[in-house]
């Protein structure tokens, strides 16, 4: 799941060798270095708040960084057995009620995953685009009392997903605590906040991610990791379409 959400949004924040903003690229590179792992295993809870209603969903999953593979299965009663499989740039879903595996494509990609503020498109973002953004350092700011750098990324050409991103990075942990995603035209579309950072072995891991679609004022999605482990053994069979149906 981390892979699916965080990395999807962050992976392409790879070093931008900009002459003007070396510091900024350093920061980004360090953030990226912080994310190095080969596999991950997690158990998480997703709380979707819409107006006054909240939906709680639980799931577990695996990720494999190298081939951009991830798998997750829902365990809360309403969605029990719903499985997602991401293979490179394809997304497959299995509904136990229909006993059918479906590829998510076309206009469905714009919909939120399980009604959340995370669109399927977000889950598929893969572009690890170097040289697509100009980065520069803005004025530092504090988030929850912690000192942070503020890096602004500006797309060089209109061929990336977001025209502009603003990333607020913790100066000690090198973890983005806030990410703002802007559309062409300057409008803030999405924000993502990471909090409850814990130290797991050598690395710092945010256990809570809050995503908001700014076009839907009264909704937000909070993902809380209950368990998370890196570089353990992940069963290879879960990353196959055949496994979805079982």
């Amino acid at each position: 799941m981390r892979h699916v959400i965080t990395l999807s949004l962050l992976l392409y924040l790879l070093p931008a060798h900009s002459r003007a903003a070396e510091t900024a690229s350093d920061i980004i590179r360090k953030v990226d270095g912080n994310q190095v792992f080969s596999t991950e295993t997690f158990k998480a809870k997703m709380v979707i708040a819409k107006d006054k209603r909240t939906l709680t969903k639980t799931f577990y999953g695996y990720g494999q960084k190298q081939d951009m593979k991830s798998f997750m299965e829902f365990t809360n009663p309403e969605d029990k057995g719903v499985k997602y499989l991401k293979l490179d740039d394809e997304l497959w879903i299995y509904f136990p009620d229909a006993d059918d595996v479906m590829k998510i494509s076309g206009h469905m990609l714009r919909q939120g995953m399980m009604g959340s503020d995370i669109s399927y498109e977000d889950m598929l973002e893969n572009d690890s685009i170097e040289e697509k953004y100009d980065s520069r350092l803005l004025e530092d700011k504090q988030v929850d009392g912690r000192e942070c750098y503020v890096v602004e990324l500006q797309a060089k050409k209109p061929d990336v997903t977001y025209d502009k991103q603003v990333i607020v990075v913790d100066k000690v942990w090198y973890i983005p605590l806030e990410i703002e995603l802007y559309a062409r035209g300057g409008r803030l579309l999405k924000t993502m906040k990471q909090s409850e950072v814990q130290k797991l072995g050598e690395r710092f891991v945010p256990m809570r991610i809050t995503i908001r679609d700014m076009r839907r004022r009264n909704s937000q999605t909070v993902v809380t990791f209950e368990e998370i482990a890196f570089d353990g053994k992940v069963p290879a069979k879960v990353f196959t379409k055949g496994y979805l149906k079982r």
Binding site: G106, H107, D163, G185, L189, D213
Partner: protein, 406 residues
């Protein structure tokens, strides 16, 4: 035969109340049928006009890559609209053409966002389509949009309000633009009312970061000449990336729905007619039993079974013809109202659309076929309905009939 005819006529005129009742049921049935058929034809005509005027034009030219199952999802725009237009200019039956750029977007008010199809239309759009007919208030202005009234209601927006369109441009970048609602549209198609936003073509192209268009819509001098024109258009475009769709093809689904609905209507009409036929059968049976002794007498006098049977068939046919003719008059009167005054959909159903691609006042048409059908059907049906009672008469021995105590 003339004698039988005379006898039958006298018989009919004898039992006045019953005859009048049957006659009324029959004529009412026929009248309703005619009204129904004509009104439905009016609906169909209006629907077709709506579809052509608003959605399909006479033809559309799209790229061969256009995905009909998931329209506008992928890049299915015309590679070379200029080349297409140039070739089409040589066809003299094409009277107008206009370009449209369509793409999927989301419209939002900062609270909710709703998926829509954004349609970029050029200044010459009115040469092919008749958008004006459906725009309730306002119009398309620079930096503005016309959205469905229903969509505006859903978002709590009004004319003059600002809204956002968000979409991914040709290269995949999220683009969000503030647009002013300068017009509200109400069409008979709920899909359009709830999920479309018209903007200016040049602005659409700029936002999408493309110079392409999705389709070129054509108008010809005669929309019904599909069989004649379509091959010519196809031939003219054989060497470019283009696929031609006639309005017939484009409205296939909706016309299939129309046909299905008509089948349902036919069942209703059939039921009315069955009631009328049962009426005739009943009348004839009563007539037969009432005249049992007369039948016996006629048989004794030397009428053959066939002659007696014919007498009743003629009787039934006379009721049928008379009822049918009266029904035609009645139907004409019914239909006259709807043909001249019309049927006000809004007043009748309000906001409910029942999936009918029509709205406002729909006028009935005069359908010669309905008259012919009604007349033939009534005649055949009434003769058939008399057949069973008449057959019963045939089987009876003269004696049996005469013995009847009445």
């Amino acid at each position: 035969m003339t004698y039988l005819f005379k006898l039958a006529l006298k018989n009919i005129l004898r039992s006045k109340i019953r005859t009048v009742l049957t006659f009324l049921i029959l004529s009412f049935g026929v009248g309703i049928y005619i009204l129904f058929a004509c009104l439905m034809a009016g609906f169909d005509k209006e629907s077709i006009v709506n579809v052509i005027d608003f959605e399909t034009g006479h033809y559309k030219v799209r790229s061969a890559n256009f995905d009909e199952d998931q329209p506008y999802d992928k890049d299915g725009s015309l590679a070379n609209a200029m080349a297409v237009k140039e070739r089409l200019r040589n066809l003299d039956f094409i009277t107008a053409m206009t370009e449209r750029l369509m793409f999927l977007a989301e419209i939002d008010n900062g609270v909710d966002s709703i998926p829509v199809v954004a349609i970029g239309i050029g200044p010459d759009d009115n040469t092919v389509f008749n958008l004006k007919k459906y725009v309730k208030t306002g119009g398309l202005e620079p930096g503005g949009t016309i959205i469905g009234k229903a969509l505006a209601d859903d978002l709590g927006l009004q004319l003059g309000d600002v809204t956002f369109l968000t979409f991914r441009n040709q290269q995949g970048m999220y683009t969000s633009v503030e647009v002013l609602i300068t017009g509200l549209i109400v069409t008979a198609n709920p899909q359009v009312n709830k999920a479309s936003a018209f903007i200016n073509l040049d602005e659409a192209q700029q936002l999408m970061n493309t110079r392409k268009v999705t389709e070129i819509a054509l108008k010809t001098d005669a929309f019904f000449k599909v069989k004649e024109y379509e091959p010519k258009i196809k031939a003219a475009l054989s060497d470019v990336d283009a696929r031609v769709y006639s309005w017939e093809k484009l409205s296939e689904d909706f016309r299939a729905l129309m046909t299905m609905k008509r089948k349902f209507q036919n069942v209703l009409v059939l039921m009315i007619m069955i009631i009328a036929i049962v009426g005739i059968i009943n009348t004839m049976l009563m007539s037969v039993f009432e005249k049992k002794r007369e039948i016996g007498t006629m048989k004794a006098l030397g009428f053959t079974d066939k002659e007696v049977q014919n007498l009743f068939l003629v009787e039934g046919a006379l009721i049928g013809v008379a009822g049918g003719l009266a029904g035609l008059v009645l139907g004409t009167l019914f239909n006259a109202y709807f043909a001249f005054v019309g049927f006000d959909m809004d007043a009748m159903f309000g906001e409910e659309d029942f999936g009918m691609p029509v709205m406002g006042v729909v006028k009935s048409v005069w359908l010669a076929g309905a008259y012919v059908n009604a007349m033939v059907f009534t005649l055949v049906a009434s003769v058939l309905a008399s057949y069973y009672p008449a057959k019963k008469v045939t089987k009876m021995e003269a004696m049996e009939c005469l013995r009847t105590v009445q």
